[in-house]
Symmetry: C2
Subunit: 451 residues, 2 copies
């Protein structure tokens, strides 16, 4: 039997998964490696962080999604390095995997601009674990205020801070304002949850800066209608447990969420090619890396310009398109055909802000408010992975819309997790926690090369 070309895909996010789908049941052998057993529908992570959806509703096991593909093997593992000269991927258990083609799609996290120590005080939102941690802190803040109000007759003001006015920051700020004003209001007897402040800090002069400026203005207005304080041209200059510094002013706050900056997966540094400041790999027009035609880097790990000179944006449709295009190029080459250069097709952009609030820019037309929100809703349900998840999410949304309830309001975690969360909320005794997290390698000072 003839040996079939072997393709290794690193990462089961949108890029890697779409590459795998395009290679399913084709005359190649595929191995997909991911550190997690599940694909996460990242655009809805903020709804897990704000107790609308459960983690299981936006995630599916990768091997379940690909179980119909007889030529794809899914492996749980972590990549620790490459030997690009010998076409080898190294895994955390010391094993080596050879490939004919390699597709690297390990995504990105948020960047803390040289202050990685801020991460414990101000987590980002990229994984289910991040979402559950943010949910824990947000819900715990209300519980502690209620307890203080009952036991001591007074409580600290409830302040929630979101850093970064991109899509994630806007969605989170809107959703936190919504939960405080609607879902929680009738359940707390001592505190008025509607008085919680939600402050969104954005360094530039508008939110959702990739949109047309009138849509940005509308988004800011819609956020303010929800009760979010939007502070533009505001740079966060320091963060400590229980407070953030904006310019020269320290602001006390319960929960800080970090939603700005891009730091590509550190495995991009291991390929031995040029990276940009965010750690992204400069790829060739066909998404391969310089001087290695059989190695591709796609999704948030890659940086490449469109024909108009603008960079391809770091959004999920771009990652999906890159995955599909790379798979097609490999299949074409195997059959003796030619590769095509990658061309990003912008099918329009939209961002949601809250219940009945959104903006969209599709086919040259601009939409605001309810109509944009309904478009957002339909599109996200359509793209959600898996039939059962789609049903469950529709049901959860329908329920949340009707009753203004939040059904996933669980503060979970062991005693240690809760103790940490309380310390970060209250800003007390944080040093030992930091030391312990460093010792546990949960917070690894990353050094200059990963910024």
């Amino acid at each position: 039997m003839e040996r079939r070309p072997k393709i290794v895909i690193v990462g089961g996010g949108f890029g890697g998964l779409w590459a795998a789908k395009a290679l399913a049941n084709k005359p190649v052998d595929v191995m997909l490696i991911d550190r997690k057993n599940h694909h996460v529908f990242q655009p809805l992570l903020y709804q897990v962080a704000t107790a609308v959806l459960s983690p299981g509703e936006i995630a599916q096991p990768i091997r379940r999604i690909l179980h119909y593909a007889k030529n794809i093997e899914v492996i749980l593992g972590e990549v620790t390095g490459f030997d690009t000269a010998r076409n080898i991927v190294r895994l955390d258990d010391g094993s080596e995997v050879t490939f004919d083609y390699l597709i690297v799609a390990a995504g990105a996290r948020h960047a803390y601009f040289g202050h990685d120590d801020w991460e414990v005080s101000a987590p980002g939102l990229k994984t289910l674990e991040d979402a559950v941690e943010i949910r824990r802190r947000v819900l715990l803040a209300f519980e502690l205020a209620e307890r203080d109000a009952y036991m001591k007759g007074t409580h600290d003001p409830l302040n929630f801070v979101v850093v970064g006015g991109g899509p994630t920051g806007v969605e989170l700020a809107g959703a936190i304002a919504d939960i405080a004003r609607q879902a929680l209001a009738k359940d707390y007897k001592m505190i008025d949850t509607r008085k919680a402040r939600v402050i969104l800090f954005e360094g530039s002069d508008r939110v959702l800066g990739t949109f047309a400026s009138d849509l940005s203005d509308s988004a800011k207005k819609q956020l303010e209608d929800l009760g979010v304080e939007v502070r533009l041209n505001s740079f966060v200059t320091d963060i400590a447990p229980g407070k953030v510094k904006v310019g020269e002013e320290w602001i006390a706050c319960d929960v800080v969420v970090w939603a700005t900056g891009v730091a590509a997966s550190p495995i991009g540094k291991m390929l031995g090619v040029e990276n940009d400041k965010a750690g992204r790999v400069h790829v060739e027009p066909d998404l391969s890396i310089p001087n290695k035609k059989n190695i591709f880097v796609i999704g948030d790990m890659a940086t490449i310009k469109q024909e108009n000179g603008e960079p391809v944006p770091g959004v999920s449709p771009a990652a999906m398109q890159m995955g599909t295009a790379t798979a097609k190029n490999i299949l074409a080459e195997i059959k003796g055909g030619e590769r095509k250069n990658f061309r990003y097709v912008d099918k329009g952009t939209m961002a949601t802000i809250g219940r009945s609030k959104a903006i969209a820019h599709l086919a040259g037309l601009k939409f605001k408010g309810l109509i944009a929100w309904l478009m957002w809703l339909g599109l996200h349900v359509f793209f959600l992975i898996g039939f059962r998840n789609r049903f469950a999410v529709i049901f959860s949304w329908f329920w949340a819309y009707l009753t203004r309830e939040r059904s996933a309001r669980l503060i979970t975690g062991d005693a240690d997790d809760l103790r940490d969360a309380v310390m970060f909320l209250k800003g007390k005794e944080a040093e030992p926690v930091l030391d312990r997290l460093v010792a546990k390698k949960e917070l690894v000072p990353k050094g200059d090369d990963y910024r």
Copy 2:
């Protein structure tokens, strides 16, 4: 305004919650304290551990359940002690709460019979965190076997061990066999998940020992039909990561779940009254503690005999009945009436084993198999807390039944959690993990007094 009697309830499980419901909107002030913000529907925890349901589907915020009760304040907190002479409860933040009546309902965990160090290797199933930890280990065992089979051409046998043949053990063993034989079988390409062994060890001569012996025999047969190996008269004498010792024989295994023994909450020791070996409080016929008529202990923390001389069983209907009875006694006394002694009403018992498999004993009649399972199903849906949860669970069950899918197959947790789980599965390098868990106080050697 006249001061109303203040009732403090410790614990939001079935006992505490049913007491609170009976006191809702009555002329008393109630404070319910729990370490968690949510009530867990414990009878369905095994379905979270086996990826059928998501944590959010079997849990509801306690303050949400009781939000209609204007006289009940729910507080997140941990009880650290009592001053029974001064009618005071002490909390973890150093504050003191006074009461006129106190209802202690903090439940129980499994007992390791003097070997509390076994807990990390063989977790019990009492909280959502336990369920997610067991789910992580079960799913991870299959992932590691698949990876070994692909990378090394061979894998260790997949063995799952459940210790204890009571309802929890039987349900878990059946559900693990079910997931291995149905839901996972078509998703793994290298391993045959149907060859996984599930072994249930029970120390006595039959499973579900509280049922009539012919029902026990039927349960054993139904378990064996699912592929579970039932080993009776088998005592586990030692446990280490990756293996259990039964009698003199060490058996290699991936996951061990502990489902036997009762260890009442340690706060039962803080009341200064007599406890039994399991740490339960010997209560008076009205469920109050000796010499303190205004302090009640209910649910799994209490031990009391029925009229027939048998102890009241540690099941959720008993806890609910105790909660309601105590609330009624307090309300009667406030109005100048008399207390009634507690009388447990056995409304029948049932245990589920797997899809279409169960036993039930109701109104003197015995049921087995499908009919018993349908009764179990109806009853559990009916009793599930909260309308939305009930809908969501019915949908998840309907989906799981139709497709034989498991929708909550997520391996979650940070890198540390996963590393620990792998070590316990593989039995390697477990010592540093144990040390670290002890340092983190996740595993606190509990000493002789908590057995």
